[in-house]
């Protein structure tokens, strides 16, 4: 018997007044995965996360954390879950340490200082331990928000745009930290608009658009679906008119440069290169661009846009 997945969602719908924020989402995230939840503004990412966290009540469908229903068995599902909310919130009455202790207590942990100290060290908050939350900068408050999600060592962590407004150094520190947390066997779900971040960290990616999951696949598969390459060739002079073998690939041109777009699965790169060499100009530079997640993302969103007028 296989254990229940870390997150399991089926036919999940959420309607706000007349607006449908989630239009039937099915998703299973196995334990230990680093999952990326992507999608444009308003796609329903936070709504999905907030339903898992019990902050928003679903209209219909099912949602479970390790087999615990997020409403009927909310106490267990929330104990399993740590959430970094998208909105920057803090309690102005308390210091960082007081706040993290209180948060631990809510989860039933009375003596949690060792872990709180470790979290603060990891997130570079140690010198702010006794500072009032009000006095922290935005990025610092974001770190406290992350620490808060982890006080009870949840097996599932959901980060709703944790790196918005965060400097490069912390972003990289955060990546390291989340990778480590994931390597220790915890499940991590990341929402972000920085696609290179998702590409760097996530092993599987789901893309939401208008409340539907329009793509769900391993990152490598998602990228492998895009077999085209973009070739930018720079010549020493104008290469003149193109032979027929190349003209079909032309997607742009500049002064002494050609931009070719070809599908690797259907056209041989070497024959294209040979044809380029036959041109009456010398090749000075050649640049091959592979598709990245951003391309895949744009492409998927674009296609769906056409299919659903």
């Amino acid at each position: 018997m296989s254990p229940p997945p870390a997150v399991w969602v089926s036919g999940l719908r959420k309607a706000y007044a007349s607006h449908l924020a989630l239009a039937g989402v099915d998703l299973a995230i196995p334990e230990g995965e680093f999952f990326g939840l992507l999608g444009p503004n308003g796609a329903g990412k936070s709504t999905l996360i907030n339903i898992l966290a019990g902050m928003v009540q679903r209209s219909s469908g099912r949602a479970e954390i390790f087999g615990f229903d997020v409403e009927r068995d909310y106490r267990r599902s929330r104990q399993m879950l740590g959430v970094v909310p998208q909105e920057l919130a803090y309690d102005p009455f308390f210091t960082v340490r007081e706040f993290l202790r209180l948060q631990s207590g809510y989860f039933g942990l009375r003596r949690n200082d060792d872990w709180i100290d470790e979290l603060m060290a990891e997130l570079d908050l140690t010198d702010k331990a006794n500072a009032n939350l009000r006095s922290l900068s935005g990025g610092m408050k974001r770190r406290v928000l992350i620490a808060q999600a982890l006080v009870h060592r949840p097996p599932v962590v959901v980060l709703d745009e944790p790196t918005a407004g965060v400097d490069v150094e912390l972003r990289q520190g955060l990546w390291r930290f989340m990778r480590r947390y994931n390597r220790e066997g915890h499940t991590v779900i990341l929402t972000t608009h920085y696609l290179e971040e998702a590409e760097e960290l996530c092993s599987r990616i789901g893309i939401l658009q208008r409340g539907r999951l329009i793509a769900l696949d391993a990152k490598d598969h998602l990228l492998a679906r895009f077999t085209w390459r973009v070739l930018t060739v720079t010549f020493d002079k104008d290469p003149g008119p193109l032979p027929e073998t190349l003209a079909g690939f032309l997607s742009g041109a500049g002064e002494n440069t050609l931009v070719l777009r070809l599908d690797q699965s259907r056209h041989s790169l070497s024959s294209v290169l040979a044809a380029l060499q036959d041109l009456p100009a010398q090749i000075l530079d050649l640049h091959v661009q592979e598709p990245d997640l951003e391309d895949a993302f744009t492409d998927i969103l674009g296609n769906v846009g056409i299919e659903q007028p």
Binding site: M1, P4, R75, M80
Partner: protein, 275 residues
């Protein structure tokens, strides 16, 4: 549709799986402690300010009317108004504590930390109401101590004093929860306080015996639940009351029970908290 696969039976190997229901001490205690800490950190505003207001009433009214009015035989007017003033402060402060804590958390958005936690409606209710009672009791007790410098006050039935304090402060803590859940802005809480709580507590026989009122006003006073809380509370001090202390107990208990039940129901339904 291909439904994602799952199985429900085996539990994850995780060290801390809490029971799915039942009251848990640590989370509840933590929230209670946080709420007490919250008003303790701004005690000047939450304890000292109501104390000063009440002492002003005591001095001004006691001085102005002290020699002329006698409500109960053998009880000076100044002594007579002390229990009423105490209970008025207890009620107002218990209400202020839960309502302002909730509205503040909602407006600033830090309510998420409570919503993300595994605390259930009963635990939230108990913790927040208990903290409201503590605030009410601290203010009430401070008034009593200071009043004792100023005059003699018997406490004939301390148990009644305790019972009415708990029912009054508990009911008001619950009412504060209801108001805090319902309100979306600080204004609305202030409106609640100024247009409902203040007049009702003020007109609940703090400064006079309702028997001295014209019959029409007497009838109106008798539908005000705070009248019974204050009358019963005063009975604890002097052994004298306008209506039977048992009636006071019944009305106060019903008030506290109804407010508590409503507050708990709203918390359980996620009213204005979990959309």
């Amino acid at each position: 549709m291909n439904e994602p696969t799952r199985s429900t039976h085996s539990l994850p190997a995780h060290p801390r799986i809490p029971p799915s229901s039942g009251f848990r001490f640590t989370p509840t205690w933590t929230l209670f402690y946080k709420e007490v800490l919250r008003f303790g950190k701004v005690w000047l505003q939450t304890v000292a300010a109501p104390l000063v207001t009440t002492l002003l009433y005591l001095v001004v009214f006691g001085h102005a009317l002290g020699g002329r009015v006698s409500v109960y035989p053998g009880v000076s007017y100044t002594a007579f108004i002390v229990p009423g003033l105490m209970m008025m402060s207890v009620l107002q402060n218990a209400f202020a504590n839960s309502s302002s804590s909730l509205i503040q958390a909602k407006v600033t958005g830090n309510i998420v930390f409570l919503l993300l936690s595994p605390l259930g409606p009963s635990e939230i209710f108990v913790a927040m109401t208990a903290a409201s009672i503590v605030r009410g009791v601290v203010v009430g007790f401070a008034i009593l101590i200071l009043a004792l410098f100023y005059l003699q006050l018997p406490i004939i039935h301390p148990l009644w004093v305790l019972v009415f304090t708990l029912l009054g402060a508990g009911g008001m803590g619950a009412l504060g929860l209801i108001a805090g859940l319902w309100a979306e802005k600080f204004d609305q809480i202030a409106g609640f306080q100024n247009f409902l709580i203040m007049p009702l507590t003020f007109l609940a026989g703090v400064f006079y015996s309702v028997r001295s009122l014209p019959p029409a006003w007497q009838k109106i006073s008798l539908i005000n639940p705070f009248f019974y809380v204050i009358d019963g509370f005063r009975y604890g001090f002097f052994g004298l009351s306008d209506v039977s202390v048992w009636l006071c107990l019944a009305v106060s208990a019903v008030f506290a029970a109804v407010a508590s039940f409503l507050a708990w129901r709203l918390l359980r339904s996620g009213y204005k908290l979990r959309q």
